[in-house]
């Protein structure tokens, strides 16, 4: 079986999972009351009267059997309608709100993923090579401490440490909340002073400086970068542990293989044996975990963005779940977000599996 055949087979396998995910999300909507479900269809949820809700329930058959409702819901889904969000300033179709908030989360994830993966692999290999030595115990403690920490608590601790330090050194406390500081927020909101190319502020700032000749662009990029440091630290600390432990055990297994003994017997240097022979083979299973990490990342980002008041999808979903100040949960947003993350995960796993087959021929040939 060639790589192309493998990709086609893998794509076919995705279809039942997507159908299953649609069905599961539908089952979740079925657990809500008809009144709550009506919010999936209301065009202007802010100004709805009780009789409007009644009319919507009758119109879409929300109190009829599950089969009819599923059909109606699927029709809406195919048209791209996930309902109207009523959380926060950006009220509008759920899809649109998610897409406008998406770049901020991507920016965060793009900083987190490489740091976590590189650090995890580096420490994992080191602790496997120095098994049961001081270094191994130290990294083990770091890893276990990392995944035992409640991410929200770590965020709170880091915030207060930063505030204490900055107020001691500079006299006034530096505000770690949000994506940029208050003064720069005014510049960003002004379309004449700041053009949004990608929505990722560090990149946009540099692009504004380079393409439009705006010197404050660099300043905004630096400011946005400073605001990224704390959330990135939190999510990386939480996620690095799992990757570290996996790399360690996979590396320990690789070190017992026959080809390592052969390499040693040939008289290769120990660093050569580890880097060229053991690590390459140990990293193959680690690739799959990088795909699974997307899920952990999304879960972590929901909490971290809430703590740091970072304007990404995660915080929006968390606020939607409690309904902000109004109390009642925003069903349309929560359901839409759940759906969205599932698709993201399926897509990420698809790419990782294809990558895996590319790296390890045993998968596609076996």
């Amino acid at each position: 079986m060639g790589l192309r055949e493998y990709i086609i087979r893998r794509l076919i396998l995705v279809i039942p999972i997507i159908l299953g995910a649609i069905l599961l999300v539908f089952l979740i909507t079925q657990l809500f009351t008809p009144e709550q479900r009506a919010f999936l269809y209301l065009k202007n949820p802010e100004k709805t009267k009780p009789e409007d809700i009644e009319a919507t329930i009758l119109m879409y058959g929300l109190n009829r059997s599950a089969f009819e409702q599923f059909w109606n819901w699927l029709n809406q889904l195919i048209q791209g309608n996930l309902g109207m969000s009523r959380t926060y300033v950006e009220r509008g179709p759920v899809m649109q709100v998610m897409l406008t908030r998406w770049p901020a989360t991507i920016e965060l994830a793009l900083f987190i993923a490489p740091i976590t993966i590189l650090l995890g692999i580096f420490l994992g290999v080191k602790s496997a090579v120095h098994r049961d030595k001081l270094l191994d115990h130290a990294t083990r403690l770091i890893a276990i401490g990392g995944y035992s920490l409640p991410s929200f608590w770590l965020g709170l601790v880091l915030i207060s440490i930063t505030v204490l330090f900055t107020s001691a050194i500079f006299g006034s406390a530096w505000n770690p909340f949000g994506r940029v500081s208050l003064a720069n927020q005014h510049i960003i909101r002004n379309a004449q002073m700041f053009t949004r190319y990608t929505g990722m502020l560090t990149l946009d700032g540099i692009l504004n400086g380079l393409l439009n000749g705006r010197p404050w662009g660099y300043q905004i990029a630096f400011d946005a970068f400073l605001h990224l440091i704390l959330p990135v630290t939190v999510v990386s600390t939480i996620n690095v542990g799992g990757l570290l432990r996996l790399t360690r055990s996979s590396m320990l297994e690789a070190l017992t293989k026959g080809y390592i003994i052969t390499a040693k017997a040939k008289g290769l240097k120990m660093s050569e044996v580890i880097n060229r022979h053991a690590r390459r083979n140990a990293l193959i299973p680690v690739v799959t975990v990088a795909g699974m990490m997307v899920a952990g990342l999304m879960s972590g980002l929901v909490i971290t963005e809430t703590v740091f008041q970072f304007e990404g999808v995660g915080r929006w979903a968390a606020e939607a779940a409690t309904g902000g100040e109004r109390g009642a949960p925003d069903v349309a947003s929560v359901v839409g977000f759940t759906f969205f993350t599932a698709f993201l995960f399926i897509f990420a796993n698809l790419i990782v599996d294809i990558l895996y087959a590319y790296i390890d021929p045993r998968i596609r040939l076996g």
Partner: protein, 387 residues
């Protein structure tokens, strides 16, 4: 006679490989300092949970009739001061806004943490075990169907799906005949078809099963397309904590099902299973007496040590305000009470005791389970253990 049986049992126990393994495991645990630290932490928390009524006695004067819940888990209120109060001799960990005692919450929160962890782990294990076992043992179409279920749930990020479930599950749950019968008919159909395929002979048991399946299918069709009364069977009222537990269970089982399936697939082709089949054991007996004892042992130990991560997930839900009832003794909720002050750094640091102490409880509790679990993972791994 009975005495003799017990005597031989004890004699056999002395040479039983399972016991030997357990002794070896305990020996290794005692050797590693990190796992000893983990056990000490867990024993400490267990003591706190057991001694909670003495460490933080519920106030007898406290007027329970003023509150909907009479349980000691609802935090007692000592006043109506809007500002949090720093630690003092009467309230060693301080008071939150509106004068809720943090020390009381931390002590009784230990029981909540154990309750959440143990309930969720036990339930996910039972569900995961039965589904993984069935899927791996029968294989074929049953494996395909059951594993697609787990695939679908694993696709969703845990916290987000748990959040959606915790919001969606209604307070009052009416189970009607029309909900149960379709599920029953699907399960019975699978059982009858596979029994027929594997045995290729018709016994009276099979005929009974087949008739039951037909009745189920017929009744559910009548309910949905005819006028058969859709009778309510049971109605369950769920507190907010129950909803969180249910959500965590629904999200958690597929992970175990996958692991157990892999383990059973390995064991299924062992010689002793073949021997049991040849001796004419029933499928149920082979699964429960021959496969389970060989697959379950490491998995149960490892799963029980996942309590730490489950408590973390529950605390995260509480922090997102989708947790237990208001003012319930729950560590996550105590930390959540500090979210109001997050806007300004100064007041947030001034009221440090609201979030530092309960957060440290969550961290140390989870750390204890993870320390022990991590050490056992290495000890139980047969490829690494005796080197």
């Amino acid at each position: 006679m009975a005495y003799k049986k017990i005597e031989t049992f004890i004699k056999e126990l002395k040479y039983s490989p399972t016991l030997k393994e357990l002794k070896f495991m305990l020996h290794r645990v005692r050797q590693s300092p990190l796992s000893m630290l983990g056990s000490i932490i867990i024993i400490f928390f267990a003591l706190v949970a057991i001694l909670a009524p003495y460490l933080a006695p519920p106030n007898p004067d406290w007027d329970v009739t003023a509150y909907p819940g009479k349980s000691p888990f609802i935090l007692p209120r000592t006043g109506f001061v809007p500002e949090p109060q720093p630690p003092s001799p009467t309230h060693p960990f301080g008071l939150t806004s509106e004068s809720f005692d943090i020390y009381y919450g931390c002590v009784w929160g230990t029981i909540t943490a154990f309750r959440v962890g143990i309930t969720v782990v036990a339930a996910t294990l039972i569900i995961g075990l039965s589904i993984g076992l069935l899927a791996a043992y029968y294989g074929g179409i049953i494996d395909e169907i059951l594993m697609r279920f787990t695939d679908v749930i694993i696709v969703f990020p845990g916290l987000i799906l748990a959040l959606a479930f915790a919001l969606a599950i209604p307070d009052k749950f009416d189970i009607k005949l029309g909900d149960v019968l379709p599920i029953c008919s699907v399960i019975f159909t699978i059982i009858t078809v596979t029994q027929f395929i594997s045995k290729r002979q018709i016994s009276w048991k099979w005929i009974l099963m087949e008739n039951l399946t037909l009745v189920c299918i017929l009744t559910s069709t009548l309910i949905y397309f005819g006028n058969f009364p859709n009778v309510g069977i049971a109605s369950i009222t769920m507190t907010k904590l129950d909803k969180v537990l249910a959500a965590l269970i629904l999200v958690g089982w597929p992970g175990y099902a996958r692991v157990i399936r892999g383990e059973v697939l390995r064991i299924r082709n062992e010689d002793y299973v073949e021997a049991a089949k040849a001796a004419g054991c029933s499928d149920f007996r082979i699964m429960v007496r021959h496969i389970l004892p060989n697959a379950i042992y490491p998995i149960v130990i490892l799963a029980s040590l996942d309590i730490g991560s489950i408590v973390l997930l529950a605390a995260a839900l509480s922090f997102l305000r989708v947790g237990a009832e208001a003012n319930f003794a729950d560590w996550g909720q105590l930390v959540e009470k500090s979210r109001v002050y997050l806007g300004s750094g100064a007041s947030f640091i001034r009221y440090w005791y609201i979030w530092v102490i309960p957060g440290a409880f969550i961290f140390v509790f989870s750390l204890g389970w993870n320390l022990l679990g991590d050490a056992l993972r290495d000890i139980l791994d047969p490829t690494l253990r005796r080197r």
